[in-house]
């Protein structure tokens, strides 16, 4: 690789490092758009090897100063977060360095400014992609620095063997990453103040669940395919199921106007905790974390929630305790708007006994609907009089006669009759609405509940995705209380990620869960645990045992990913090694050298083939005779104008293989 190619490679690595750092902040969504545009523009210009600011040094500095004044003025006025302002400025400095005349100092300044970006991103977000950006930044910048160091303070025309350089620098990068992890694990957490601002919703994090204050029928159900994790919960006692088959109650709606459902509750004063009914020991305790992707303020708990408490909200300014607002018969919600929350909920499985006259009355109200609906209900129940059995009959009829579908385009005037009599397919909200309305025509009080169904266990937590969102029905049966009914066919209950992506999503879950629990929430207690495990190895061995049983799931993905990375690396190396004009014999040389490397023939760095052959002959190496033959034929073909046909090439390479096996 000559000087020019090495220089280009170094600049590419520098630009990529800067881009990784900027991506880390950019994805947090807090940087102003114009800063992002400027940065991406500078990156693109630099990738095309243009340096428009190489001459305009003074003007660029003046412009940067002006921008700094504006940014920090905004921050001073409170219009802009101070961290965001600093990060934006760092991004602009980096961008400026990318399009300035490249020199050792410029490159280093670009990387240091990028490091500031990374630090800013750490303060601004806590998503998994930060880890990816950090990794990329570390790798690219270390490679760049290593190559610059080997290049030395002056430009020389000497050819450098890039293989060993890359090997050594990559070893350095690998060790640095491992060391970084070790430092992270062992560096004592002196501060108990967990002020991590993993709080920005991020560019990807706009509200993903449909937990709004009304349920409107119609439209498609693309929600079901979303794999974003919205809730994480730790259950006590732990049900130890891989796939949880329980309902997470979010919000109840009892007023239906023919097109949409809404609640009728009236909020009571906010308080630190909400008791829905008397607590008792059999309750399931849930520590729930609401992630930014959730995008709503409704508290969620397993069926049936009895108490919510210890709510904390994380906003841009930090984590604080928050109060809860109870809307009886409808929901419990956080009093304060924030980006993410944590709280503890207690639930009691079984039926919901709390009887309220008003609730029951409201659960019977019907809007003016198509008379065919009431007729249909009559037909389904026939002569059955018991309300519970009637309800089950309707539920079963809906489940079996109608089909589940997410492809529902367009608005219709009367979605319910459309669903029951025309399309005969719909998603969970249609099924729940139909069941509730049919039951109401039969004088069974019914309301719909919106929440989640399912939950996937990763480590000791259950993850709930946006696609797990669900709607179902609660019907009042005297002496039994509110009975949960779900008319949606089983196939439509949990999330329905696209099949091909399912495994990927699974892997993503595991990584993200590991990131959150092992990195973002890593604490002094975990450190103590870690050290204790080091001191008591048997327990650790057992842990490793469990982890290996889980490993095979991700092996194919890991293999695919590493193959992809390898391919990219190979292409990059190929691109930089490509010569302008290849002699036909050069391909033979490449194959021959490849085979020699494969056979682990000891070869000095930069040793020409002829000298290697001469040396091996002198050492009476068993490979020497065939190698001599091959070298001779190569030289003849290359410099003696005697072509080397493909068949002979293969024969020569083959001849080299036989004695090699003898050596082994």
């Amino acid at each position: 690789m000559n000087v020019v190619e090495r220089r280009r490679l170094r600049l590419r690595l520098r630009d990529l490092a800067a881009l990784s750092a900027f991506t880390a902040v950019g994805l947090s969504g807090s940087v102003p758009v114009w800063v992002s545009v400027l940065f991406v523009l500078a990156f693109a210009i630099s990738m095309f090897d243009r340096r428009p600011l190489a001459r305009q040094r003074a003007w660029a500095v003046v412009a940067l100063l002006a921008v700094a004044v504006v940014l920090f003025g905004l921050a001073f006025k409170g219009a802009l977060d101070l961290v965001v302002a600093a990060v934006s400025f760092a991004a602009l400095v980096t961008a400026h360095r990318l399009v300035s005349e490249p020199s050792a100092a410029t490159d280093q300044q670009a990387l240091l400014a990028s490091l500031l970006l990374i630090a800013g991103a750490a303060a601004l977000s806590g998503e998994i992609w930060f880890a990816a950006c950090l990794l990329a930044f570390g790798v690219f910048s270390c490679l760049h620095l290593g190559l610059s160091v080997v290049e030395g303070p002056v430009d020389r025309n000497e050819d450098l063997p890039m293989g060993p350089v890359f090997r050594q620098v990559s070893l350095g990068v690998g060790l640095a990453l491992a060391g970084g992890v070790a430092f992270f694990v062992l560096f004592p957490r002196l501060s108990w103040n967990l002020a991590s601002r993993r709080a920005t919703p991020g560019l990807l994090g706009q509200s993903a669940t449909g937990m709004s204050d009304r349920v409107r029928l119609g439209g498609g159900g693309d929600l079901k395919t979303r794999a974003r994790i919205v809730l994480r919960a730790r259950l006590q006692p732990d049900p130890k199921q891989d796939e949880l088959d329980r309902y997470w109650v979010g919000r109840r709606f009892d007023v239906f106007d023919g097109r949409e459902w809404h609640g009728s509750g009236v909020p009571v004063a906010a308080s630190d905790f909400v008791h829905l009914t008397a607590n008792d020991r059999r309750d399931t305790e849930q520590e729930i974390e609401v992630l930014p992707a959730y995008g709503a303020r409704t508290l969620v708990a397993l069926e049936h929630p009895v108490m919510f408490t210890r709510a904390r909200a994380t906003s841009a300014s930090g984590t604080t305790a928050t109060q809860l607002v109870h809307v009886p018969g409808e929901e419990v919600r956080f009093a304060a708007e924030a980006i993410s929350y944590t709280y503890v909920a207690y639930s009691r499985p079984g039926t919901w006994m709390r009887d309220d006259e008003g609730e029951r009355t409201r659960a019977l109200a019907l809007p003016t609907i198509d008379p065919r609906v009431a007729a249909l209900a009559k037909t389904i129940v026939g002569t059955e009089t018991d309300p519970l059995r009637r309800a089950h009959l309707v539920e079963r009829w809906l489940k079996t006669s109608l089909s589940y579908s997410l492809e529902l385009e367009g608005e219709v005037a009367d979605p319910l009759t459309e669903f029951l009599f025309v399309r005969k397919s719909g998603h969970c909200e249609h099924f729940a609405t139909a069941l509730a309305v049919l039951l109401r025509t039969l004088d069974v009080p019914a309301r719909i509940t919106v929440g989640f169904f399912g939950g996937k266990r990763v480590d000791d937590r259950y993850l709930i995705r946006a696609g797990d969102a669900h709607a179902w029905v609660e019907a009042w049966v005297d002496d039994r209380g509110w009975v949960t009914l779900d008319a949606t066919p089983e196939s439509g209950r949990g999330s329905q990620p696209v099949a091909l992506l399912a495994m990927l999503a699974d892997l993503g879950d595991r990584i993200e869960e590991a990131w959150r629990s092992r990195v973002v929430d890593y604490s002094f207690i975990d450190q103590v645990q870690f050290v204790r495990n080091l001191v008591r190895p048997p327990e650790r061995a057992e842990r490793e045992g469990t982890s290996t049983t889980r490993a095979p799931v991700s092996v194919p993905w890991r293999g695919l990913a590493s193959a992809g990375v390898g391919l990219v690396a190979y292409l990059v190396v190929r691109r930089f090694q490509r010569r302008e004009r290849l002699h036909p014999a050069a391909t033979f040389l490449a194959r021959l050298e490849g085979q020699l490397a494969q056979l682990q023939v000891p070869r000095r760095e930069g040793e020409p083939l002829e000298e290697l052959t001469r040396r091996l002959t002198g050492e009476r190496h068993p490979l020497a005779p065939p190698l001599e033959q091959a070298t001779r034929r190569y030289l003849e073909a290359r410099f003696g104008a005697r072509p080397l046909p493909e068949a002979e090439q293969r024969r020569l390479l083959e001849a080299l293989r036989a004695p090699a096996q003898l050596v082994r």
Binding site: N2, R156, N157, E158, D159, H583, A586, L589, P608, E610, E611, R632, L635, E636, R638, F639, G640, A641
Partner: protein, 313 residues
């Protein structure tokens, strides 16, 4: 039936190795020089076997050999020959000097005054001697092997740079390594050359020289040589890089080297192996305008250049 060039050459090398012990690389280069029709300059302190090498070369090809000791009072005519008045016939007759031999050893060339040196070197370059209007052809094959003491001995006339250019290769034998020297002391015979028999003849040498002429140079290799030469001219420490004649002689030496491996084409490796012996003495270094540290410096610079100029592959 004449053996193939590589066999012939290796036979000669082995044979010469008996008298010049422990110097296989130098013997190889000396033979190469002869095959390339070049003249050889040996630079060394006395007593390391320069004369033995020269005489051994001549004898192994059974070539005629003459040794001229260069001194301050040596005249051109002492080398070239002179018109002698024959009193009996009353006519002038040309009496040939020692240069009319196939291998001439010019011992301690730098002790003779420049006029004498240049007489020899002109004869070397033209392959003939012109005296008093008549031209006398020198015998073929013809090679001069000159020896020179390193310059820090006083009372010498260093060869001018233009004259150095006439030598194809410059070698330095150097001292023997300890083991070989000890072996030499044990096995020392009276005169190693006394029992030295020829293994080839002049026709063999001509055959080798003609074989070397047939060796092909591909365009890539020629480019490589040109790039190397250009690099010496562009180097900041080199006052005057190598001339076109130098590149030509480098290539002719490379052709001869190719014969050792029985090739009929030149490889970049051949050029690299000859870079220092063929070019080092032709460089004029900036730092050596006073002759201060010329010796190994030129070799170092050439090795650096060989690392920097990418070879075709």
């Amino acid at each position: 039936m004449r053996p193939a060039p590589p066999d012939l050459l290796s036979k000669l090398a082995t044979h010469l190795g008996d008298v010049v012990q422990g110097k296989p690389a130098q013997v190889r280069l000396a033979l190469t020089c002869l095959v390339a029709r070049g003249h050889l300059l040996l630079e060394d302190v006395p007593g390391v076997g320069k004369t033995t090498l020269a005489e051994g070369l001549a004898r192994s090809f059974s070539l005629s050999f003459a040794r001229v000791q260069f001194t301050a009072d040596l005249l051109p005519s002492d080398i070239l020959g002179a018109q002698v008045f024959k009193q009996a016939q009353g006519t002038f007759e040309f009496r040939k000097g020692p240069i009319f031999h196939q291998v001439v050893l010019a011992d301690e060339l730098n002790r003779a005054p420049p006029r004498t040196q240049s007489a020899l070197l002109e004869a070397m370059a033209q392959g003939q001697v012109s005296l008093d209007g008549t031209t006398h052809d020198l015998p073929r094959p013809f090679s001069v092997i000159a020896t020179q003491n390193p310059l820090d001995l006083s009372g010498t006339y260093p060869l001018p740079d233009s004259q150095l250019d006439r030598f194809l290769l410059r070698l330095s034998l150097g001292h023997l390594d300890a083991a070989t020297e000890a072996q030499l002391l044990v096995a020392r015979r009276a005169d190693p050359l006394a029992s030295f028999a020829p293994v080839a003849d002049a026709a063999d040498l001509v055959f080798l020289q003609e074989a070397a002429d047939q060796v092909q140079v591909s365009k890539d290799v020629a480019d490589y040589a040109v790039r190397l030469a250009a690099a010496t001219r562009a180097h900041s420490d080199i006052e005057r890089g190598v001339s076109t004649r130098a590149v030509l002689s480098l290539m002719s030496a490379a052709r001869a080297v190719a014969l050792w491996e029985g090739r009929d084409f030149v490889t970049p490796g051949d050029l690299r192996s000859l870079l220092v012996p063929a070019l080092a003495h032709r460089l004029l270094l900036r730092s050596s305008s006073n002759g201060a540290f010329a010796r190994d410096e030129a070799g170092h610079l050439l090795e650096e250049l060989a690392r920097q100029v990418p070879a075709p592959r």
